[in-house]
């Protein structure tokens, strides 16, 4: 278990590599060879993460005695762990917790395979800061969820590092680019293993800064810097929620320790419901900004101004899921706050679902391939949030896991495409690239299928669990969420097909001669594509595996990653796998593809998708007399899907949300000018100066007493004397 206790090494390595690259990169290593440092560091990180992941599985499989929370002696055990943190009311902890955990097992993942409650590995290092004699430690918090994210971040970051050596070769700021990749990785890893909510905030902000720096990587062009600023400021808005929410948590539990907070809630559900509701709402704002949820998502598409690998790493796979991760990490807060267990609709689920919907809709309206993918990311993140909103914790994390891979693959694919097609991302300037760049094409298609959720690709399994989760819910299901989910499933398949059509099919509409990217770019693509196929295997439902007698391997993510030690206390239940739901989901995805296919390939496509080259030939003929085909199929698809939803969503998005964000800034500045001009310089400063002038002029006036005529002086003297005399004689 050494690795789990010393997990701090994992973020430390990239941090060091950041320093090395930034300060010694140019001079000692050579501007064009700094990537060596970064890649080596990430390799190390990957290995360590793998070790950590393995050790965690060991811990779950045959836990050391001190790791187990005996369901029966639930309360007492916690009593020992957390000292006086919640020394009171063990009794009802005991009852409630054990009861819940009981039925948690009952309907738990099919095979009734019960896992003991494993406590996370928490190691604290130094007194970070202190107050009122209490010192607050900095430390690491490692459990299944952590190691899962460690693996995701390490793998994708590593691949992106490799991919970038080609993609940003010869860039004017190659050194800074790699420095910030390292810094970002460090920050992200620091974030995922945060032991207390302060660390969460720190990591949260640091990744934000890295994203700012990398979006604005080419800061000579104003649009890039605008995008960077927009991203940062939008996130700052969310951070208000983050700060306040965390403060409310602190105020309620008087501790920053995540483990303690979670335990306190799970051992005594229902207490401080209101405080938790406030906290959850505030934190939701933070999630909305960081994970691109409605209505703070508008920065994400602009963020595509950054280099494509960055988009793949930060704005698809890792940073943007920080919000989701935080919800999962502090799940008891949200579970109690939004009373997910009992409601059938709640803020988080709705925001998630709605975001998924508009995201998917907007994806139709884009011509920029990266923006399509960006909106797709928004939509998928919405999925995850929705999943968490309906209580499907595992589904959300599972989807996070799979999505990371295929979305990264898609982005890198897009990058590879633009690399070939003269650095454009406009799909109208592409087309027919599949011949010129087969590897990119295949990997792209695979990941698209995964994203669309086609059996047996990874996305299928995770999306299925989400739909299932919203169908079953906890005490009662989430019908609206189910509808949203299904609609999104259909639309996702549809717009991805559209992208594939415009990018790879038809004939090349750009200029120059496109070419396949070199191996250093395609190999990562293939690895990711592979994961896009296999990632689903990590949480296969029991029934699927029974035939091959591997049911022992079912629900690995649920088994390893889910922090049952907290969730059981909440009485979180897991739905039984349902074949029908899976079929419905699959059907939706397929029909989505089908409709789009019809839209672009004409009805002949109805015969099936197997023989590609024929439809390709059809494709040319279609393009010749495109007009009436459009006219024909507009009635079918566009009128039903694109116009109403996408156009409306797009208009709303651009004219309302986006403008609000931008004008907010402008108005702030105008207000500033006004206040400065009138209040500050006018009223406050003015009054002071006026007083000064008043003193001056009164001095001038008083000088007239000094007429220079001695007799006036005498009159003044005697007059004053007389007046004083009279006054005093009368008064005194």
């Amino acid at each position: 278990m050494w690795m789990l206790e010393n997990a701090f090494l994992i973020p430390l390595i990239p941090a060091i590599s950041f320093v090395v690259i930034l300060f010694f990169g140019k001079r000692f290593i050579g501007a064009d060879r700094v990537h060596v440092v970064g890649i080596t560091a990430l390799g190390l990180v990957w290995v360590l993460s793998a070790v950590a992941a393995f050790q965690w599985t060991q811990r779950v499989e045959n836990p050391p005695p001190d790791a187990i929370v005996q369901v029966q002696h639930h309360g007492d055990d916690h009593g020992d762990d957390h000292g006086d943190d919640h020394g009171d009311d063990h009794g009802d902890d005991h009852a409630a917790a054990s009861g819940h955990s009981g039925d948690g097992h009952g309907d738990g993942h099919g095979g009734g395979h019960s896992s003991p409650l494993i406590r996370p590995v928490i190691s604290t290092f130094s007194d970070w800061w202190s107050n009122a004699g209490v010192t607050f430690a900095v430390g690491t918090f490692v459990d299944g969820q952590t190691v899962l994210l460690l693996m995701v971040v390490a793998s994708i970051s590593l691949l992106v590092h490799i991919y970038s050596t080609e993609y940003v070769k010869g860039d004017r700021r190659y050194v800074h680019y790699y420095a910030f990749l390292s810094l970002f990785t460090a920050a992200m890893l620091f974030f995922v293993m945060a032991q207390n909510i302060i660390q969460l905030i720190v990591g949260w902000e640091l990744v934000g800064v890295c994203s700012f720096a990398l979006i604005g990587h080419w800061w000579e062009e104003k649009p890039n810097t605008d995008a960077a600023l927009k991203a940062f400021l939008t996130n700052r808005v969310g951070d208000v929620g983050l700060l306040v929410g965390m403060i409310v948590l602190w105020g309620t539990f008087k501790t920053f320790d995540i483990d303690v907070i979670n335990t306190l809630i799970s051992t005594n559900p229902g207490a401080h419901h209101f405080a938790l509701l406030v906290a959850a709402c505030c934190l939701m704002a933070a999630v909305a900004s960081k994970s691109g949820q409605f209505p703070l998502h508008t920065w994400l598409p602009d963020a595509m101004a950054g280099p494509t690998p960055v988009s793949a790493l930060i704005h698809a796979a890792t940073m943007v899921v920080a919000g989701v991760y935080m919800i999962a990490r502090l799940y008891p807060v949200f579970y109690e706050g939004f009373s997910i267990g009992t409601s059938s609709i709640n803020l988080m689920a709705f925001i998630g679902g709605f975001t998924a919907l508009i995201g998917a809709g907007l994806a139709f309206a884009q011509w920029d391939i990266k923006k399509v993918l960006a909106y797709s990311t928004v939509s998928q993140l919405g999925y995850m949030v929705m999943a968490l909103g309906v209580g499907a914790w595992t589904a959300a994390i599972f989807h996070l896991f799979t999505h990371a891979f295929f979305k990264a693959c898609l982005f890198l694919g897009a990058g590879s495409v633009s690399h070939a097609a003269h650095h454009t991302f406009d799909m109208r300037k592409m087309g027919g690239l599949r011949k010129d760049m087969p590897h990119t094409y295949r990997t792209f298609v695979i990941s698209s299928l995964a994203l669309a959720g086609i059996f047996p690709f990874a996305g299928f399994w995770s999306k299925d669990e989400i739909l299932l989760g919203s169908l079953v819910g906890q005490e009662n299901g989430y019908p609206l969420m189910l509808i949203f989910g299904c609609a999104v499933a259909l639309m996702t398949a549809a717009y991805m097909t559209r992208v594939i059509w415009y990018t790879f099919h038809g004939e090349y509409r750009g200029h120059g001669h496109p070419h396949e990217s070199p191996k250093v770019m395609t190999v990562p693509l293939w690895i990711l594509a592979g994961m896009a196929v296999l990632a689903g295997a990590f949480n296969l439902p029991g029934p699927v595996l029974e035939p091959i007698g591997l049911e022992g391997l079912a629900h690995r993510i649920q088994t390893y990653a889910e922090p049952s030690v907290y969730l059981n206390g909440l009485g979180l239940s897991h739905p039984d796998p349902s074949l029908n739901m899976a079929l419905v989901g699959l059907a939706l995805a397929l029909s989505g593809i089908l409709i789009t296919y019809l839209y672009y390939w004409r009805r002949l496509g109805l015969h099936g998708l197997t023989e590609r080259n024929r439809y390709a030939r059809r494709g040319y003929t279609i393009l010749e007399n495109k007009y009436y085909l459009d006219h024909l199929y507009n009635d079918v698809v566009v009128e039903t899907v694109k116009r109403p939803l996408a156009k409306w969503a797009n208009r709303f998005n651009q004219n309302v949300l986006d403008r609000t964000v931008n004008t907010a800034g402008e108005t702030a500045r105008d207000v500033g000018r006004w206040v400065y001009k009138w209040i500050d310089q006018g009223a406050i400063d003015g009054s002071v100066n006026a007083a000064a002038r008043g003193a001056d002029s009164s001095g001038e006036g008083l000088r007239s007493i000094q007429s220079g005529k001695v007799q006036n002086y005498g009159q003044l003297l005697f007059g004053a004397a007389a007046v004083l005399a009279i006054v005093f004689v009368i008064v005194v």
């Binding site: 001095g699 000088r703 007493i705 003044l716 003297l717 004397a721 004689v729 005194v732």
Partner: protein, 496 residues
């Protein structure tokens, strides 16, 4: 005839009178010497006068060491620590003034010997004033210090301004003293005696008597004129501007201090019971004096005139403790004495710098100080110290003087006192506004006429500067020095 011979000489304590007698002796000596060898003696005169002042300091020291309180002429003339402290103060400031005068008078080829004689006589009056505890002796001392001052003010007999200064000072002076005398006559009429103790007993007793109030007011007004308190200040700016600068310094410091001394004795010894009149009167006068003095000073362009108004305002500060004379007598006296001591040095210092600068620029305009820091950094720094002191900014001495005021006010406590405290605070700020105008000229501006020749400062002025700077800084850093004198003077003045 019998009656004439029946005169028996009252017992004289020669030791106690030694300072006065020494001054007198040197005054006459100067005249005699002048008569004997007139022109050849000119050079010796200032030296002689200086020696005279220092010589008369000696008996003061011995008396201080001896420390016993000596009373003469039926309590009309008292020599106690209080009077000793102030005598010393008068003599020292007189000495500094003489240092300032030497070259000024000589270069202006005015009469020298008479100048010093008059200076010494006037000082004699002040020295007597600090011992007088009787209406008559106070009156005599007052006139003894005033009449020579009238002549000194008009010293530049060729200069129209100087004459005018003399005239205004004279007319207002005698008018004021006439008013004062009328008040004295009324008070005497009620008390039946001229001795302060007797007056205190008669008037001290509660019920208010219009005649008494009239008398007290008129007396106080007479001295309010001396300390140029608003609205009895009108003579001061004109006289200060017109009179020779050393004389101005002398008036602004010594004669004002003398007036304060008289006021202290009147308020604390003669009218201790009449706080119903005294406190409101001084509250009003002090507030008026500070504020109006400062406000008018804001608009001055002639530095002497500016210092004149600043002096008026400073006088207002000194009057503040009288407003709590009855509520916190000890602190009040202490505050006034301390203020006078510090004020003497910082103001004399400022005038010394003015003299020195005028030797080069030949102008009293503030603008003529432009760029002083470039060609005469020493003088600029000195002036900065004095102005800082006048504005009451540590570590220059003035802060402790102001501190004394606040201390007295808050010791008395109560809304009125606190209110006056705020008035003081506001005035401190206004005051700095015009002191800053000089600083700005000296430090921030460039020389108006590009000539940056350094200023040649004669030795005597250097000496004067040295004394004043050292004193000002010492009082600021170790206020205990001056604080001690304040303390001892309190004990005796309150008959403790």
């Amino acid at each position: 005839m019998e009656a004439l011979l029946a005169f028996s000489r009252p017992a004289l304590d020669w030791h106690a009178l030694a300072p006065e007698l020494t001054l007198l002796a040197f005054g006459t000596l100067i005249t005699v010497v002048d008569i004997i060898w007139d022109d050849r003696s000119k050079r010796a005169m200032p030296t002689l006068a200086g020696i005279g002042l220092l010589a008369s300091l000696l008996p003061i020291l011995t008396l201080a060491v001896d420390g016993s309180e000596r009373t003469m002429f039926g309590g009309a003339y008292v020599v106690d620590d209080f009077s000793l402290v102030l005598k010393a103060l008068f003599l020292i400031s007189g000495y500094v003034v003489i240092l300032m005068s030497v070259d000024y008078i000589r270069d202006g080829d005015y009469y020298e010997n008479e100048y010093y004689t008059l200076m010494l006589t006037s000082l004699l009056g002040m020295v007597m004033m600090s011992s007088s505890r009787d209406l008559i002796s106070v009156f005599v001392a007052l006139e003894l210090l005033s009449i020579p001052a009238y002549m000194l003010a008009a010293w530049r007999k060729g200069g129209a301004r100087s004459n005018e200064a003399g005239l205004k000072y004279y007319l207002m002076g005698v008018f004021a003293s006439a008013v004062m005398l009328y008040g004295m006559s009324l008070v005497y009429g009620l008390a039946g005696s001229t001795a302060f103790e007797a007056i205190a007993q008669e008037l001290g007793s509660g019920e208010s008597n219009p005649v008494a109030i009239l008398g007290i007011l008129f007396i106080l007004i007479g001295f309010a004129f001396k300390v140029s308190a608003v609205p009895f200040h009108t003579w001061a700016p004109d006289t200060y501007e017109g009179a020779p600068t050393p004389v101005t310094a002398f008036l602004a410091v010594a004669s004002k201090t003398a007036g304060m001394v008289a006021l202290i004795q009147l308020v604390f010894v003669a009218f201790p019971g009449r706080d119903d009149v005294v406190q409101p009167f001084f509250w009003l006068i002090a507030a008026l004096t500070m504020t109006i003095g400062n406000l008018i000073a804001l608009r001055q362009n002639n530095i002497v005139r500016l210092l004149a108004y600043s002096g008026v305002a400073q006088g207002g500060f000194m009057l503040v403790p009288f407003a709590v004379a009855a509520d916190a007598p000890a602190r009040a006296i202490e505050a006034v004495v301390i203020y006078m001591a510090i004020y003497a040095f910082m103001n004399l210092g400022a005038f010394t710098v003015v003299l020195a600068v005028a030797r080069k620029t030949r102008s009293g305009e503030i603008d003529s100080y432009g760029g002083l820091f470039q060609y005469a950094p020493g003088l600029a720094v000195a002036m900065t110290i004095f102005l800082a002191a006048l504005a009451g900014i540590p570590p220059a001495g003035g802060w402790f003087a102001k501190f004394g005021l606040f201390r007295a006010l808050l010791d008395a406590g109560g809304g009125w006192a606190a209110g006056l405290g705020v008035v003081v605070a506001v005035n401190t700020v206004i005051a700095f506004a015009y002191y800053a105008r000089i600083l700005v000229q000296m430090w921030f501006q460039s020389v108006p006429d590009g000539d940056e020749r350094p200023i040649a400062i004669p030795g005597s002025l250097k000496a004067a500067l040295a004394v004043t700077i050292i004193a000002t800084m010492a009082f600021g850093v170790l206020p205990g020095l001056v604080g001690h004198f304040g303390e001892v003077s309190v004990l005796s003045a309150l008959g403790g």
